[in-house]
């Protein structure tokens, strides 16, 4: 088989469990969690690849892959199904030399797929993760990497000093070259947080992965092992500052917040975009949405295939949902296929796919703008029975 040589390919780490998303990831890998009405989290890095001109993407899956694999399919929604482009799902597999099995860490996941990358003989490999919401032109980052003749470039964003100890922090010289990496430092020296987006020279990364695999004490992780190893070996490593919107949606609260940040006339995150900034998703065949004469919708996204008879305020309503007569949905994220029956009240909640809130049930509660909000969550297919209450912060 013939494989066209590629200057740059991407490897997308999509195998994480996302356990902090609790009931939402019980049956679904985190990258397949719905977002923004018609998208899934993985649509953002995948669309960024396509919009950056990267047409070969390996997607490393491990946890609950069924839905994710099905979603990615042949890569057609992102235009990654052409003769010389691909979205290749790469699950763990068994090899004759036993250097295989479950992915032990992020670096091991790439190590086990060296053969896949070698087929394209790339100069650069972009390593991405499937749990962030953002738009970024990776081509610009690769050009920066090339211009600086670096071995590795890591995207960084400025975080408040008070939060810096939650991140991997990169300490840099004035020219943005990295002299030190500290994973979750107790006393951070700077506020350059790693975004988990890396550009590597493939030759350098390939060698590093092989020697890391030979080290039995290594936890085979990019942040913990590969980056410090390369720094120690004296490779030129650059920080690539990024100041656009970026959100780790790894927790219930941050997933809810990121959805809310889509709203408003000038939202914190502008999901609309022209050709090079569009987010692509696998579409379901849903008709236009019907908005009844008694419906009231303010400051909200409503995707296709919905029927709205009640009131929706400051919320994201995904494809194929119903909001019944007299129902109220406020400050909530309603995932695809949810039915909210008449008279039900849903506030500060995330309703998982195909869940149902029956007649006159109450989910979540109201808060003032400065209160600490507790988000109520329903899992996929859950039913909040008629006339019952799912209290603030509770999960079903």
């Amino acid at each position: 088989m013939y494989f066209q040589k590629k200057r740059c390919i991407a490897m997308l780490l999509a195998g994480g469990q996302g356990s902090r998303l609790k009931v939402l990831t019980e049956k679904t890998a985190k990258p397949a969690v719905p977002f923004g009405g018609k998208y899934r989290i993985i649509d953002f890095p995948l669309s960024n690849c396509v919009n950056s001109g990267i047409d070969t993407v390996g997607i490393l899956t491990q946890y609950q892959p069924l839905e994710l694999n099905e979603y990615i399919g042949n890569g057609q929604p992102w235009g990654l199904n052409k003769t010389h482009s691909c979205a290749q799902v790469l699950p763990p597999y068994e090899r004759h030399d036993k250097k295989s099995g479950w992915y032990k860490g992020t670096a091991n996941a790439i190590y086990q797929n060296i053969d896949f990358i070698d087929r394209y003989d790339p100069e650069y490999v972009v390593i991405l993760s499937g749990d962030h919401i953002y738009k970024m032109d990776y081509a610009d980052m690769v050009a920066y990497h090339e211009r600086n003749q670096a071995s590795c470039t890591i995207a960084v964003r400025n975080v408040p000093l008070s939060e810096a100890s939650r991140f991997g922090i990169l300490n840099t010289n004035p020219d943005n070259s990295i002299y030190e990496f500290e994973e979750k430092p107790k006393q951070p020296k700077s506020t350059n947080a790693s975004m988990g987006i890396y550009v590597f020279n493939w030759k350098v990364l390939r060698e590093a992965l092989i020697s890391d695999e030979e080290d039995e004490t290594s936890s085979n992780d990019f942040g913990k092992n590969i980056i410090p190893m390369l720094l120690g070996a004296g490779h030129k490593m650059m920080a690539y500052p990024f100041d656009g919107y970026w959100k780790d949606v790894g927790t219930i609260d941050s997933l809810w917040e990121a959805n809310m940040e889509l709203l408003g006339k000038e939202p914190a995150f502008q999901i609309r975009g022209n050709e090079r900034q569009r987010i692509y998703a696998r579409n379901s065949a849903q008709p236009s949405s019907y908005i009844d004469e008694d419906a009231k919708i303010y400051n909200a996204f409503v995707a296709e295939g919905c029927e709205v008879y009640g009131t929706v305020r400051h919320s994201v309503i995904s494809v194929g949902c119903t909001v019944g007569e007299g129902a109220l949905v406020e400050d909530s994220v309603v995932m695809p296929g949810v039915v909210i029956e008449s008279g039900a009240i849903v506030r500060h909640a995330i309703l998982g796919e195909n869940s149902r809130v029956c007649v006159n049930a109450v989910v979540g509660g109201a808060y003032g703008p400065k209160d600490k909000k507790k988000i109520s969550v329903t899992s996929k297919g859950a039913v909040v029975e008629k006339n019952t209450v799912l209290a603030p912060g509770e999960m079903l």
């Binding site: 009405g37 999901i271 236009s288 949405s289 019907y290 908005i291 008694d294 009231k296 909200a300």
Partner: protein, 372 residues
């Protein structure tokens, strides 16, 4: 399924709305083109070989259908072919569908579906959500030469029907009429027919050779009268929208605001597929008032809309009012403007403060790309 599908893309016209597009590519229902309903009916019945007969203006149609992957019809498991009139230079006056079929003989006999036994013929002006497998089974069981899919309740003593059929108490055909203003006892042909391919190929050759080119008049009525063909009528029970004039198109579009009609057309037997455009969900602003409307994706709503259909990426600015109207893709209604009983084609700009008011029977139509 061993059936080939044929869709006629433009056997009717609708003024300014079809001056630069086919009837098949006329937008309908917010996210669709008329042909989506026919392609979905066929694809969901497992029909894999489809020919689209299109005589002119087919650029927008080809753009919409593409390689038909949205309908699962991309090449590899059958496919879809445009049958454009390569021989029309010899006959510049259009004489009828049979002549088009005559030029599609290669497709039927040697093309994609050369091994198929049956043909379903469909015209893009009549929209429905039908299970063609059931209709084919009924056709085979009837043992007749041609099955006409027909709908009761369309004939009203005013509308001229292309083909009207009347059944007696035993379900036998008692009358057939072409281009006829029929009363309520007649059923209206939905311009969907099933017959064996051998029969169709043979009859088209025989009829066109004798300068008989009209599908309803020469193939159906003519052969029935001569006793050459036996007919079966399949009375369709679902919603059938006959979009044969601007007035009907306008009325039928707004009829989608009725839940029963909408649910039947979009979900009676199967989903309706269309070309994916990757637009964001529609955004409803702080002060918008949307009542009894059908809206596609990508809209940005700050003003008011009532009893209307909004297509993709429509923008309604603050203080604008839209009532009983069809607003197609990318059209912008400026601040404080008011439109009522209008059809605004794609990319129209209504200036701030402008007023456009039509009537239910004669909606104002603004052509694509115009500013008013």
């Amino acid at each position: 399924m061993n059936v080939t599908g044929i869709i006629f893309a433009n056997d009717a016209t609708m003024g300014d709305l079809t001056s630069k597009r086919t009837m098949a590519s006329l937008p309908f229902g917010g996210r669709y083109r008329q042909i989506d309903f026919h392609l979905s009916n066929m694809a969901c019945a497992g029909i894999r070989n489809i020919g689209i007969i299109s005589r002119y203006n087919y650029q927008s149609l080809m753009n919409h259908v593409g390689d038909a992957e949205e309908w699962g019809l991309e090449l590899g498991e059958g496919g879809l072919e445009f049958l454009t009139p390569y021989a029309m230079s010899t006959t510049d006056r259009y004489r009828g569908k049979l002549e088009n079929l005559y030029f599609a003989m290669d497709f039927l006999e040697y093309g994609l579906g050369n091994e198929d036994e049956y043909v379903v013929l469909s015209d893009s002006a009549v929209l429905s959500n039908m299970d063609l497998t059931k209709i084919l089974a009924a056709h085979i069981e009837s043992g007749k030469d041609i099955t006409i899919v027909a709908k009761a309740g369309i004939a009203d003593g005013r509308k001229q029907l292309d083909l009207a059929v009347k059944l007696d108490d035993k379900g036998q055909i008692s009358d057939i009429a072409v281009d006829y203003v029929a009363g309520p006892e007649h059923l209206a042909s939905m311009d969907t027919f099933i017959m064996s391919k051998t029969f169709l190929v043979h009859q088209v050759r025989e009829l066109v050779a004798r300068n008989l080119c009209h599908m309803d008049r020469d193939l159906v009525l003519g052969l029935w009268q001569k006793g050459v063909a036996s007919l079966n009528v399949y009375p369709f029970q679902g919603v059938a929208l006959f979009n044969e004039s601007i007035e009907e198109y306008f009325r039928n579009s707004l009829s989608l605001l009725d839940k029963q009609i909408r649910h039947d057309l979009f979900g009676r037997c199967h989903p309706v597929y269309t070309k994916v455009r990757d637009r964001v969900p529609s955004y409803y602003g702080e002060e918008c008032e949307i009542e009894n409307c059908l809206l596609a994706d990508g809209c940005f709503l700050e003003g008011e809309a009532e009893d209307s259909i909004l297509f993709r990426d429509v923008k309604i600015c603050q203080g604008a009012q839209v009532e009983k109207s069809l607003i197609m893709n990318d059209t912008v209604i400026g601040e404080g403007a008011r439109v009522e009983y209008v059809i605004l084609d794609k990319n129209v700009t209504v200036r701030p403060g402008a007023r456009l008011v039509g009537t239910p029977h004669d909606p104002i139509i603004i052509k694509r790309g115009e500013t008013v």
